[in-house]
């Protein structure tokens, strides 16, 4: 029997709409959902390789309980009843001794969180985390400080943009399928891209301007640009007068930061900065200074991102074609939203163990900051945490310094990993539960905000292979065992969908027809001079932030120059390849064939000093000397001499992943001593405050 199922991809966090063709219970073909004009079949390498993931035998196949020491790889195969009972018994003991607040859970964010967040809340723990301390926390907090709402308030109208400015936002390699295509159309129509990155990544190859900036000096560049824009009155005065609070303060702050000063700091010539400022002014308001996504980079990334947003405001680039637009939700088009299970469960009274939202008022309480969980586990301050559940999240390869993390894990009574892949964290867990892949499960319905808000559906295409189970079933089963089953009465996802849709007038079969249902026919634009909904106390864009002031934090931070590496040392940068999703696909049969291992990018003049030629093996050693490994070197003029670079996610240590095992090196292992180093205002880890020694391997 042949059928096509409309669903949502799960190979990365973009979650593209897909069509899955199934023949007699076997997936034969996956393509971008043709009902979505932006997709029209398009799919990335990872999207097609979902098929290879599904049918790979090197994925967790049945529940496993640890027998030897943590990380030793000595596992006992278990039934689901055995594994879930084991977890529930341990959790009950912990709850009895320390309360439910002693249980922490982390995921990787996204629109499918309702069931597992509800699980944690229903058992009574406030300690929900996601991966965002290694991702967009600085962006989130920068947005909150200016607009009173988070980064997802806005999306970007790339198609009509005249000048797109990207600070390491590597749009042609850290791919979003629809976006990459629209940006290519924009270039075809004569639009410009300025790409700023110490390394000429894939996006630089298509950019109309490329600046190889000195690593860690984005903030200096922005101050120089803002200085020029204000000095030469290049900004959108009408928009700024209407919506901005604190222009004068900004003006006096940037006086010392001339383009000549910025040139010294960044290595970008002053005349080019001035020329650029004039170019963007000519293109405004159809200008986007992308605030970035993964901005867990430096200890001042919050301020560099914040100045990106400020430049957007100065360009008047809000709610205008070619700029940033407010994402509209169901309520904005007179429609009713989906129901959320989380909203039906009372919030636990305990405070978060990481202090977010109470001790650290400027840090958003929502997903907290995972790096702050580790010291809390070790010190038991403000209270003990004894269990940690990692759901499709692998902190041992995304947060810095796995050894330091393991020291904290060793104080826990229970570590559980729930994943469709083997992960470094799963390998160190006490119980590993195999969750179904996105092709084998249905998930909660999603709300897609945008110019045309819509609901979307991830629908199971085939039965789970081996003994994998859908995550909703795993969390429901655990909740039932812990006496919180009253909230999880639904029989399956279909029943849950019907409940989610109850108020909307839309049915499950409406969604099944094309995979999504739009809540309005026409894109919704608000009047940009009258109707913008900023959520700050002043209802304006607060250059001088009341939110920051409440925590005694300055809105404009005087610039501090980043450290230059010592002789023979380099700042270690990492990033994405278009064929791998962070650390999740290195063992995928199709993707590992295209890119089996990473290499170290090294500046050609530096390579000459080290006596290293392209393709040589080099030894990389962490700053404290505790971690070392060898890797093939890629010698190029297209990386800044202070930087070396490797694609993230390699150097894997799970022996059951034969294709990824020990291939290349993992940046995260060199980030020794950095687990507790983060942007004090933005909260994200400072992953690039990392120096490594490079020498020719013997």
């Amino acid at each position: 029997m042949k059928e096509s199922v409309y669903s949502i991809c799960g190979m990365c966090t973009v979650r593209c709409p897909i069509k899955v063709d199934v023949e007699d219970g076997v997936v034969k073909w996956i393509e971008g959902n043709p009902n979505d004009p932006g997709m029209a079949g398009r799919l990335c390498a990872k999207g097609s390789a979902g098929l290879a993931m599904l049918y790979d035998y090197e994925r967790p196949q049945h529940p496993m309980i640890r027998e030897g020491k943590r990380g030793e790889g000595n596992w006992k195969k278990a039934t689901w009843d055995e594994a879930l009972d084991y977890i529930a018994n341990k959790l009950q003991d912990i709850i009895k001794k320390h309360g439910a607040k002693a249980i922490a859970l982390s995921d990787r964010g996204g629109p499918f969180r309702d069931i597992h967040r509800s699980f944690l809340r229903a058992i009574g723990s406030p300690n929900y985390y996601n991966h965002d301390c290694t991702c967009a926390r600085n962006v989130q907090h920068a947005a909150l400080s200016l607009f009173g709402s988070g980064r997802k308030t806005f999306n970007y109208d790339y198609g009509n943009c005249k000048h797109l400015v990207l600070y390491g936002r590597n749009v042609f390699e850290s791919l979003r399928v629809k976006q990459a295509n629209i940006i290519m159309d924009m270039l075809d129509r004569g639009g410009k891209i300025t790409y700023i990155d110490p390394r000429a990544a894939g996006t630089a190859m298509k950019a109309t301007r490329y600046w190889s900036i000195r690593p860690g000096t984005d903030y200096a560049l922005n101050l120089g640009i803002i200085h020029t824009v204000l000095r030469d009155k290049l900004y959108d005065a009408e928009f700024v007068n209407q919506w901005v609070l604190g222009l004068k303060e900004l003006e006096s702050f940037v006086i010392p930061y001339t383009p000549e000063w910025a040139a010294e700091e960044t290595g970008i010539p002053a005349n080019e900065i001035v020329e650029f400022a004039n170019e963007i002014a000519a293109a405004r308001p159809a200008v986007i200074f992308h605030p970035g996504w993964m901005m867990a980079r430096y200890s001042d990334s919050f301020y560099s991102v914040r100045t990106n947003y400020i430049l957007n405001a100065l360009m008047g680039a809000f709610e205008t074609p070619g700029g940033l637009f407010f994402q509209k939700g169901p309520g904005d088009v007179g429609a009713k939203g989906l129901k959320s299970l989380l909203d039906t469960i009372p919030k636990p009274e305990d405070k978060r163990v990481d202090g977010c939202g109470w001790k650290h008022k400027h840090f958003d309480a929502g997903p907290g900051l995972l790096q702050l969980l580790y010291p809390a586990i070790v010190s038991e301050d403000p209270y003990p945490v004894k269990a940690y559940i990692a759901f499709r999240h692998d902190p041992l390869l995304s947060l810095p310094d796995p050894d330091a993390q393991k020291e904290a894990f060793d104080k826990l009574d229970l570590v559980v990993a729930i994943d469709a892949n083997y992960s470094e964290t799963g390998w160190y867990a006490d119980v590993l539960l195999p969750s179904a892949t996105y092709l084998e499960k249905s998930s909660v319905l999603t709300t897609g905000k945008g110019l045309k808000p819509q609901f979307g559906m991830r629908k199971q295409a085939v039965e789970p292979r081996n003994d994998a189970k859908a995550d909703w079933w795993i969390f429901k089963s655990l909740a039932e065992r812990l006496g919180a089953g009253e909230y999880f009465k639904f029989k399956d996802m279909e029943e849950f969908w019907e409940w989610q849709l109850e108020d909307t007038g839309i049915t499950v079969s409406d969604l099944e027809k094309k995979g999504s249902v739009a809540l309005t026919d026409k894109p919704v634009w608000w009047n940009r001079m009258k109707d913008l909904k900023f959520k700050t106390p002043s209802k304006k864009i607060e250059f001088v932030s009341s939110r920051l002031a409440a925590s005694d934090i300055e809105s404009f931070k005087p610039y501090e120059s980043p450290k230059k590496p010592d002789e023979g040392y380099y700042r270690l940068a990492f990033g994405r390849s278009p064929v791998h999703t962070h650390g999740r696909t290195q063992n995928n049969p199709v993707l590992s064939e295209i890119m089996p291992e990473n290499q170290l990018w090294l500046n050609d003049e530096e390579a000459a000093k080290l006596g290293v030629a392209n393709g040589d093996r080099v030894r990389v050693t962490s700053a404290d000397g505790s971690h070392s490994g060898t890797i093939n070197v890629y010698v190029t003029e297209f990386i800044h001499p202070e930087s070396v670079f490797m694609v993230h996610g390699f150097g894997r240590k799970v022996p059951w992943q034969t294709r990824g095992y020990n291939k290349g090196l993992g940046d995260y292992r060199f980030e020794t001593g950095l687990l507790g180093v983060y942007d004090p205002v933005g909260g994200a880890n400072s992953l690039m405050e990392c120096f490594v020694k490079v020498e020719k391997a013997e």
């Binding site: 073909w29 996956i30 393509e31 971008g32 079949g41 398009r42 799919l43 990335c44 390498a45 990872k46 999207g47 097609s48 390789a49 098929l51 290879a52 042609f172 390699e173 791919l175 399928v177 990459a180 295509n181 290519m184 075809d188 000429a200 894939g202 630089a204 190859m205 298509k206 950019a207 109309t208 301007r209 490329y210 278009p578 064929v579 049969p589 199709v590 993707l591 590992s592 064939e593 295209i594 890119m595 190029t636 003029e637 297209f638 294709r659």
Partner: protein, 167 residues
């Protein structure tokens, strides 16, 4: 030359290797054979900007395919109706003569079947009125499948727009 052709619009190609993954999964191939491949060349500096070339290498489906001439069993064939060059799996004995003969390195070795395998423009899809997997799912639609004459026309059109002088 087959009546079809895959035109790669280098300007739009971002080197995302998606075509390779689409090909691999559509043809259900094990690790080893790569029927189409992107070979990145560069980067080089062009007008002071870094530029990369991503060369797309499927089969060119030659007019007089050397692989067909070299094949001793008749497994390697040129389809009369449209010139698509393909391997009839049931006739291939795995002698690798086609791999030796092809100047472009097109025929690949399938270690699971012990036979040669090559790009056939996804002819099962073509016969259903569809396009090859690599073209269908190309992110930027830089790959185009169809009539070579039409493609040269579209290149001319674009060049004309670029150099047009309205004085």
């Amino acid at each position: 030359m087959s009546k079809y052709y895959i035109y790669q619009d280098a300007k739009r190609c971002i080197g995302c290797f998606s075509c390779e993954s689409h090909c691999k999964t559509k043809n259900n191939l094990p690790i080893g054979p790569r029927l189409s491949q992107i070979i990145p060349v560069g980067p080089k500096k062009l007008n002071n900007l870094p530029r990369m070339s991503y060369v797309f290498m499927p089969c060119f489906h030659c007019q007089e395919p050397w692989c067909v001439a070299a094949c001793p069993t008749g497994a390697m064939q040129k389809r009369p109706k449209d010139g698509i060059v393909f391997v009839d799996d049931t006739l291939c004995v795995g002698c690798k003569a086609c791999i030796t003969a092809c100047p472009w390195g097109t025929p690949q070795w399938n270690p699971e079947t012990g036979k040669a395998v090559k790009c056939d423009y996804c002819m099962d899809r073509v016969d259903q009125g569809l396009e090859p997997a690599c073209v269908t799912k190309c992110i930027t639609k830089c790959l185009h499948f169809g009539d070579p004459a039409k493609k040269s026309q579209s290149k001319r059109d674009r060049h004309a727009k670029k150099v047009a002088d309205f004085e």
